[in-house]
């Protein structure tokens, strides 16, 4: 097998699986096919490490930057599929979903994976745009899966805001092409990423500026940056929990990846407006805003959805600050956030099933009634709040120290936001995990393995990051400037 084959597999496997799942009745088999396909995709992605990388073509590309995202994407895709397999049957039993819904769900799951993988591996900004659009549309359908008022409303909101965002991103993409076209000539080459970045210094800076604004707002909507975040909390809280995990853990990253790509383009052109301040501003705004918004939350999934906004703010801030340390911190934070937030949603899914509610006020004493789940949730939430020894602590450590030395005022705002968010998360966590448990419980169906697996990874990386990962991050951090 060559790298090209692996790349091919990453894209084809989900499509094939989706096709198969559409045809297949019976949700149990579907669930495990879903897992198997995700596993194979992950293995293919992981094999990209060892195999020789295929040369970048007009459409696809594997480089240091996106391999991080691809492997992370397929990995969380896998664990979420495992969780989903153990989780989703319960939804059928409680009558929230029908078998037809489930068939649709599994097929869409793979479509979504395909969209995200394609977005991450594309070497063509047009293709990337298409792929992001595809991933968005498939998740819109997933969010609306329950057909409740709230779910439909969330999906509608997501759809409208996402469409507008994607339209703006498309305009940005067109502008980038227009900027590239005088230099690279007409046609496909002017949309190929590797060409763009090489020729970026000769692009019209004013064109790039306008393009970046549109791309930032467009893809920023997908990232969930405030004030473009509005779809995110509803979409997270109303869809099936595995999808919330995927949304928070993966889809946001995909959009972030797009923003990063274009940030690179901007930095490559010396005369263009520096993307850093814009990203810092949006990042801090998202962080502080989401931190405040965490306090009045009453729905547990919505709480963690806002926490995702907060963390996206932190990551965007980190990349906005730039420099080897901050970029390293941003990458690490992104990976950690994906792992941790999806772990949290795995736990929350179980909690919601056990308690039959997502209302924070009606969930109490989890560490008492369900120790493995409760403590898992405690650890995961503390990790996302930046408590050691999770990798989030390391990234926040690096980010705060380096940004305070360089931009003290910004770092103070950052610290304020972090603390504010910490206070809110801890407040809710204390209520949920401790105290006298509520009486009636449904049996727990969902598996705890993905949750603890993620936790183990988070702690492992936080304490002893594998050398390969470090070097890889450092290379990418250097690329990001």
């Amino acid at each position: 097998m060559t790298g090209a084959d692996a790349l091919f597999a990453i894209l084809v496997l989900p499509v094939a699986a989706a096709a198969l799942l559409v045809l297949l009745p019976g949700y149990r088999a579907s669930a495990w096919i879903n897992v198997a396909a995700s596993l194979l995709t992950f293995l293919a992605a992981a094999s990209l490490f060892v195999l020789e990388r295929p040369a970048p073509g007009n459409f696809l590309l594997v480089d240091d930057l996106n391999i991080v995202f691809v492997v992370l994407n397929t990995f969380v895709g896998l664990t979420a599929a495992v969780f989903s397999a153990s989780y989703i049957g319960h939804e059928l039993e409680t009558g929230r979903l029908t078998p037809a819904n489930l068939r649709f769900y599994h097929a869409m799951y793979q479509m979504m994976m395909f969209g995200m993988n394609l977005a991450l591996t594309s070497n063509n900004i047009g293709l990337m745009w298409v792929a992001v659009e595809l991933a968005t549309l498939s998740t819109v359908l997933m969010v609306g899966l329950y057909r409740t008022h709230e779910a439909l409303e969330a999906a509608w909101k997501y759809f409208i805001l996402g469409s507008v965002g994607i339209a703006l991103a498309l305009f940005g993409t067109i502008l980038v092409y227009l900027a590239a076209q005088p230099v690279l000539g007409e046609g496909t080459p002017a949309m190929v990423w590797t060409n763009l970045i090489a020729a970026a210094p000769r692009f019209d800076p004013a064109m790039l500026n306008v393009a970046f604004v549109f791309l930032l707002v467009g893809y920023g909507t997908k990232v969930g940056l405030a004030p473009f975040h509005a779809w995110l909390p509803d979409a997270h809280s109303e869809g099936p929990t595995p999808i919330s995990a995927v949304l928070s853990g993966l889809l946001l990253n995909v959009a972030l990846y797009a923003v990063l790509r274009f940030k690179l383009l901007m930095t490559a052109n010396a005369e263009a407006v520096a993307p850093g301040p814009l990203m810092i501003g949006l990042g801090l705004l998202s962080l502080v805003f989401a931190a405040f918004m965490l306090y009045p939350r009453r729905d547990i999934k919505r709480l963690f959805a806002y926490s995702s906004i907060e963390h996206m703010g932190i990551i965007v801030f980190a990349f906005g600050i730039g420099g080897p340390l901050a970029n390293f911190a941003g990458l690490l934070h992104m990976v950690m956030h994906s792992l941790t937030k999806s772990a949290i949603f795995f736990a929350v899914g179980n909690v919601a099933q056990i308690k039959g509610t997502q209302k924070l006020a009606e969930i109490r004493g989890l560490t008492q009634s369900h120790p493995a789940l409760g403590w898992g949730l405690v650890l995961a939430v503390l990790s996302i709040a930046g408590m050691p020894p999770s990798g989030v602590f390391m990234s926040e450590f690096l980010l705060v120290t380096t940004s305070f030395a360089r931009a003290p005022v910004l770092a103070l705002i950052l610290v304020f936001g972090l603390l504010l968010a910490f206070g809110a998360l801890l407040l809710r966590l204390t209520g949920v995990a401790f105290g006298t448990p509520t009486d009636e419980d449904h049996p727990m169906a969902g598996s705890l393995v993905p949750l603890w697996l993620h936790l183990a990874l988070i702690y492992w990386i936080g304490l002893h990051m594998p050398r390969a990962m470090v070097e890889w991050f450092q290379t990418v951090a250097a690329i990001l400037g």
Partner: protein, 221 residues
């Protein structure tokens, strides 16, 4: 020849902006849909003209998509939706028409200012002009989305926004077909999904007014 081509393209793009203003001005749903159809028609013409002058046959496809799909099918479908659902025939606006028009003027001014800043090196003034108009159409479409309460109107606003996108894409020389197809594709999917949702929403609510949805926000109860 070149000057004439330029002028015609300019004229078409400019009229697209004009029609955008007309859409803002409409206070009847049917009239709005008709105006939208007009805009789609103009778009098709503009794209076709580009295809003609630039000898880029693939743009004809785009023009055809715009013509058939946006100028005919979608307005027709929306007419049906409005009729069948018995949606209120007037456009519910947030602010008066005049302030919206003024804001629209400002947006057009902004787009022109922005695009004028492009360096002279952008050797193709046509692209630049087109771009300014396209940006105006996009912004006006969005303005319509935020100043209208009715879901159908918002959908129209969104499609008007996409018209602007296509205008920009068509104005970009040599832009690969992938873009047009994807735009068409997205509109198609948008329509399907919107249809699905309108249908669902219609099933459960008495109006497609999206503000009515807001009572069902997860936390307000």
């Amino acid at each position: 020849m070149h000057d004439l081509a330029f002028d015609i393209a300019h004229l078409l793009a400019g009229s697209l902006v004009l029609v955008s203003f007309m859409m803002i001005y409409q206070d009847r749903l049917y009239a709005l849909l008709n105006t939208f159809a007009l805009q789609a028609l103009l778009l098709a013409m503009a794209v076709a003209w580009q295809a003609f002058t630039r000898d880029a046959p693939h743009l004809y496809a785009t023009a055809a998509i715009a013509l058939i799909f946006k100028a005919i099918i979608v307005p027709w479908a929306l007419h049906r939706v409005v009729a069948r659902m018995g949606i209120q025939r007037t456009v519910e606006t947030v602010t008066g028409v005049v302030p919206t028009m003024l804001a629209g003027m400002g947006l057009v001014a902004l787009s022109i200012l922005l695009m004028l800043q492009l360096t002279e090196a952008a050797e193709n003034p046509l692209a630049r002009e087109d771009l300014a108009f396209a940006l105006s159409v996009i912004l006006l479409g969005m303005l319509m989305m935020v100043t209208r309460r009715n879901a159908v109107t918002q959908v129209v606003g969104f499609m008007s926004l996409e018209n602007g996108l296509i205008l920009a894409a068509a104005g970009a020389q040599g832009m690969p077909l992938v873009v047009e197809i994807s735009v068409a594709f997205s509109v198609l999917i948008a329509m399907i999904v919107i249809g699905v949702f309108l249908f669902r929403i219609r099933e459960r609510f008495d109006s497609v007014d999206t503000e009515a949805l807001d009572a069902f926000r997860g936390e307000r109860r």
